[in-house]
Each structure stands twice: as C-alpha cells, then as structure tokens.
Symmetry: C2
Subunit: 258 residues, 2 copies
C-alpha cells in the first residue's frame, strides 16, 4: 500500500524526527511504499494567498475559495500545491505527524491543509440538493483512504482526560480529525498520541516505538472512528443538524459519533 | 484604552477588510488607541523555526521551547517577535480577527501565536509546586487584559449549533479561547461570529456592523466567559483534573466553565 507521511517538526534530531524515521522504516519493512512531505525541510509556504494561483490579474480582488476553485479547475495552481495533491491521490493512507502546539497543528501544517485542500478537491465537491449537501463528511475525494494523526505533546495524559484542564484529547483533535480528515472523505483512525515528551528515556522510547509499530502494522485493519456520514440520513439538510430522533440526549462533538 | 487588533485576511477588499476598517474607526471614535497587526500586509513569517533566535550556533539542535526561553530571557528574539510582544504589553484589549479556515485560525495567525507566545512570556511563567502549576489558565502575563475573537465563516449558524455537524461554535473555538487566550491570562469575551458570509448584502452588512459596534462599545463591561482558574482550587495538581466534587456530572470542554 502507499503511505503519505506529512511531517511538521523543525528539528530532525528531535523525538518527532526519531518517530518519523522509525515509522518510515517500519512501513517500508512491511513492504509499503512511503512518501514523506517534510514540510520544514521543503520550506513549505505556510500562508495561503493570491500567489497560489498562476497568472492572476495582479489587481483583481482575491477571493480565497473562488480563486482556488478557478486555479484547481484550470490547472493554474502553483506547482507545490499540485504536487501535494498528487501525493494525496497516490496514497492509500495518510499520516499527519506533528507536535501539538497551542492545542492544534503547527502553522506550517495548517498552511499545508489550507493550500492543498483546494476548492473542487477537498471542498466544494459534489452536488447540493435537498438530500445531499456536497460530498463531505464521509464522502469526497479522499473516500476509501485512511488517515491517522501521530501527535506529541508536553502535557500529561491526565491533562487531556475527560475532566482534564486542556479538554479531552478526542475533543481537542476533533476539528482536525472530523473537520480536516473526515470532511473530504478519509476514514479516520484513532490518533497515536505521545504525552509528556519531556520525560522520555531509552526505555520509554522503546515502548513508544513498539506501540507505534503495532499501530502501523494494523493501519489497514484498525476500525476507524465511527463519525456519522452527512448524507446518509442522520442529518437534516440543509440545516445540517442531527435529526431529533438521532441520539436525542446528545449534543456537542460526541453526538457525531454513531 | 489601548486596543490591539491582530488581523489575518489576505484581501483588504473583503468582508473581513471592511469589518476591520469599521472596528478601527469605531474604537477610535470612542477615544481608544488602536494598533493593528495586519499579518498579511506585514508578510508575517508564519513558521516557527531556529531563525527566530538571533545568533544561534548554526549546528546546535533546535528545541522550540528551550530556544524560545533562552532568546526571550536574553533579548535574542528576532525583532518581529519582540515588536508583537511590545504591542501585547501595551494593549488593554486584544481582538483576533480571522476567517475560520478548516475549523481554526489561518496558518499565518497560528504562526503569530506560536512565535510571539514565547517561553517565559506566554508559557513557562511562574512557579510549579503542589498548589500552583505555573501562572496559566487565568493567570499569567496577560492577566487584567481582555481578548475577543472576531470570526467569519461560510457555514450557517445551524451548522455550528448544539447538534450541528461542525460542532458547537463554542467547542470549535475552545482550543483558541481557552487554550490560546485564557492560558496566558486574558479575560476572554464571548466571540463575535458572522455566519454564512456568502450571503451578505448591504442591509445585512449594516446590521452586522451595528452588532459589532455594540460589542466594541461594551468591550470593557461585557462579562468574560467564566473559565475556571487553574490554581484557585477547582483542579487537582499536578494531574490538572477537576476535583471530584466540582461539577461531578460534567466532562469535556463545558466542565471548565464555572
């Protein structure tokens, strides 16, 4: 199978760098093909702007989504964007690896999402009607592919528990797992999270590697997070709220799990 | 009073650009002093990296937090970072204005947070003991200052309701409002959110302006979101989980509201 690892850490000689090297070696040893988008090494342009489209009228008003739509449809995207889209098409599975900075992904990775997720590619896909509100949340260009987050954080596991001060890790990651990955159609696997990274010794690193290796070995068989499909009957359209009879006692992120 | 508006949209001739201009005019008409960090106009460097510290050893291993700590403590931060920190010190209130892209802030603004929020300035502040786990979540360098999000989104209000498919807006914004703003000590006001931005005509824009004007007029009196202070007794330290007797029936983000 083909695996794309999108990696966002500025220092190769870091815990993240070691985990990346281990993941590549582990996947290749199992016979998979791996491509790595090492965003810092690539000096990835993080900020979405008018330069993401080739030969625009310089004085034309820039509309992020309409310009993206036009550039995607007409082959006028900047080359770095088109290359990353080709990697996504090639991949059977995508791993986003990053340190959790301020409770989200690093800016350089957020900018990868913003620029690579073009209108017509990752959003604005499919028809809008009374029963189908675009191919999104369970349908879309990434349908049939799997995705997983590989995240490190300095905080303790308890800080990200059900009543931990940072909020539950599944809720902290929901905007990424549901909003960035499930939205264009990925099946999203439970995240692999390494907590309290300042307390890493050789023994603990060996055990983290073992656990990560098991997750990589089961990348094709681990059941995905059971997010609800938008267009499969659970939601009113176009309000996109859960129908009253669906999990009537629930609200918030958890309500979107079947 | 002094207001810092941190603004992240690439096109001045946009809804966001118009709202920014209105906010500045409205605040200045009320006698306040306003500084604007227009991140796209400033060509703000979005990606945190080793170049954020002056005169590092070029081959030294880069550690994002330890390098930040050293640069902050020794006056060796790059000038753009120090300038933004000076604006934060000057401000009595801070407004972060941005379009919601993929359920979070644009990369350029995320990179402002990552680079300006230095170790010793926005985190790593205060003592750690059995009863005090750093000056954070209600204490810290920004204590006594107010902050508010001004957010636009193409999605409908119902999509961000209690049972809306994107998740409740308060939960989508929790990693920013609680994790980025309350963490270093800001009092965080309820957000000002403009939904369904593709359906904006003159009448609706006038009414949005009126509502925003009211929020700016009451910037100093609006009650902040009642997040729980970390070190005021509600949390076990160092587990940083809510004590069993505090809101025992609650978990998730909402449990951190008093």
């Amino acid at each position: 199978m083909n695996v794309l690892l999108v990696y966002a850490h500025p220092e190769p000689r870091s815990l993240n760098g070691s985990l990346k090297d281990f993941a590549i070696a582990s996947l290749e040893a199992a016979g998979h093909h791996v491509q790595v988008s090492d965003l810092y090494a690539m000096q990835w342009k993080a900020s979405l702007d008018a330069n993401d489209s080739l030969d625009r009228e310089p004085d034309a008003r820039f509309n992020p989504s309409l310009d993206s739509k036009h550039a995607f449809a007409n082959g006028r995207q900047s080359a770095d964007i088109a290359q990353e889209q080709a990697k996504l098409r090639w991949a059977d599975a995508v791993i986003l690896q990053f340190p959790l900075w301020w409770f989200s992904m690093p800016a350089i990775l957020k900018g990868w999402v913003e620029r690579v997720y073009a209108y017509g590619f990752a959003y604005g896909v499919g028809e809008h009607s009374d029963s189908h509100w675009g191919d999104r949340y369970g349908e879309g260009s990434m349908a049939g592919k799997r995705a997983m987050l590989l995240v490190t954080t300095g905080g303790w596991e308890s800080h990200y528990g059900a009543r931990g001060i940072n909020g539950p890790i599944d809720d902290v990651l929901f905007p990424i797992q549901h909003g960035v990955l499930y939205y264009p159609g990925f099946d999203v696997l439970p995240p692999f999270v390494v907590y309290r990274t300042s307390r890493m010794d050789d023994a603990r690193f060996a055990s983290v590697q073992d656990e990560l290796g098991q997750r990589l070995d089961t990348l094709w068989t681990t059941p995905p997070i059971p997010f609800r499909q938008q267009n499969a009957g659970d939601y009113e359209i176009p309000a996109l709220t859960l129908r009253p009879e669906i999990a009537p006692e629930r609200s918030g992120f958890v309500a979107h799990l079947a």
